[in-house]
Amino acid sequence: MKSEKTLTGQLLSNPVPVDSSTVLLSAGSLRHFGEFMVPIAVLLALWELVARFGGLPPSLFPPLEDIFRALLKMSGDGHLAADLAGTFTRLFQSIAIGAVFGTIVGTCMGHFRMWERALVVPMNFLLAIPGTALFPLTMIWFGLTEAAIISILIYEVALTVTVMTWTGVKSIDNSLIRAGRVFGANGLSMLWRVLIPAAMPSIISGYRIAFSRAWRILIIAEMLVSVSAGLGYRLYFAREYFQYDMVYAGLFVVGMSGLLIERVILRTMESMTVNRWGTVRELK
């Protein structure tokens, strides 16, 4: 090959192979582990100090031991598992529907002028209505049921993902779209072969915001609607029965679950796409 000889003179900007194995928890090394464990340890120690020596009634500010015991009790009697299952089922059902809808509509809005013109005004109108404000309405429609919660989550997720995808697709470098057209992408294939992958950094940001919004609404919703199991329901129930340690344990589980979603699902999604492609900057 004639051109091969000229290649040797070429400088590689970064001669590292890219097949880095997918990382589930991005904090792989021990040092990283320490970096994020230290603040947690400090926080726990402070908590314990205030609880033991702060002079507050232990029912309002229980020591870690009590919270841990409540946690054990919840997991022992199967409540925790049922609550987690209930909450996560609702979350994933609505995220799946809302994200697919939002990604498709947002992409079309970012690419086709007709879609944008038709949908920008209704979208901005709906953006002004918080999902939580729709509760009175969905309760009338669906009663105190799962559907009352899930419909609101879908609304919130779809709207968030639509906005983020729309702006993401609009800011795609025009040269990529030109290249896509030249090499035969049009209509639907333009959508899934060029626009969606090109807008992936914004789309994932959209999923991230949607997840956290849906999560917050979901916990509150489970307090309002009398479902039989769910983390929000558990918190409310614990307060009703003056089980304050269980309130704290419940909050702890809520926080941990959110953290796990971010770490396991969103980070994995990122490391499999935008990080691997190098379309977002990685901090050194």
Partner: protein
């Protein structure tokens, strides 16, 4: 193989709007030339002369105000896989590997899956990137990225190759290197090429014929056949003479203009 013909091509852009009436700025008027099958033609001209617009029209990415571009006697109506385009800004798909980028057009063409890989690999090889087939573009240097761009355009086996200042974004050393690569590949494949550049040296080094666009609105002020044997030597006095001739045609301060002029 393919032939490209530009017939009575004009392009005007609307500029500032005043009282609802837009003014029109004519880029070029009644442009006319053709490229024979297997011929390598460079179009050079100062910035703003419309040479990139010309290529966009040929690629089907922009519409002409009047006139047409014909590829093998059929008029260009929008983008098509009979033309391979290499972009100045590379425009690689960052989510696809080198092989994936080169295979992109093949998939659009409806080439069966098994054949896509084999054919993509053939072109990965042709542009000298076999060791980097599984790399993502973000890991490649500028020169290597444009090799991918070249491979992607060649892989669809187009009738005509359209290159829009493909080495304009590269440093001087890499640019010369890439000119060699292209020269080698062209001698191997003998594609019909329309190559846009503002680099006179590059035009003389690569092409069979050079067209100079100049004046406003642009027209072909000079047409020059380059008969030097390949691979060409830049220090050759013949080479230097041609460069000088083109240089004065671009600057518009000459009498060669009339001598070689057309239209």
């Amino acid at each position: 193989m393919g032939e490209l013909r530009v017939e009575q091509l004009s392009k005007a852009f609307p500029t500032a709007q005043k009282w609802g009436r837009s003014k029109w700025h004519t880029i070029f008027n009644n442009l006319q030339f053709s490229i024979k099958s297997g011929e390598f033609v460079c179009v050079i001209g100062p910035s703003g002369c419309g040479k990139s617009t010309l290529l966009s029209i040929a690629a089907g990415l922009e519409e002409a105000s009047s006139g047409s571009v014909y590829v093998n006697d059929s008029p260009v109506r929008g983008p098509g896989l009979d033309r391979g385009v290499v972009f100045q800004e590379f425009a690689l798909f960052p989510w696809l590997t080198v092989r994936g980028n080169i295979a992109f057009g093949l998939k659009s063409k409806g080439v069966p899956q098994a054949e896509v890989l084999a054919r993509a690999d053939k072109y990965v090889d042709l542009v000298g990137l076999s060791k980097f087939a599984d790399y993502y573009p973000s890991r490649l240097s500028g020169g290597m990225r444009q090799r991918v761009g070249l491979g992607r355009a060649l892989a669809i086996e187009p009738s005509v190759l359209l290159m829009d200042e493909p080495f304009g974004a590269l440093d001087a050393l890499t640019r010369e290197n890439m000119q060699l690569v292209l020269s080698d590949i062209w001698q191997e494949t003998r594609k019909t090429v329309l190559f846009i550049t503002h680099d006179i040296d590059e035009a003389v080094f690569l092409s069979d014929r050079v067209l100079v666009l100049n004046e406003t609105p642009s027209r072909i002020v000079c047409e020059l056949k380059i008969d030097l044997p390949r691979a060409r030597d830049r220090s050759d006095p013949q080479f230097q003479r041609l460069v000088k001739q083109l240089d004065s045609a671009i600057r518009g301060d000459n009498n060669t203009t009339k001598h070689f002029g057309d239209n």
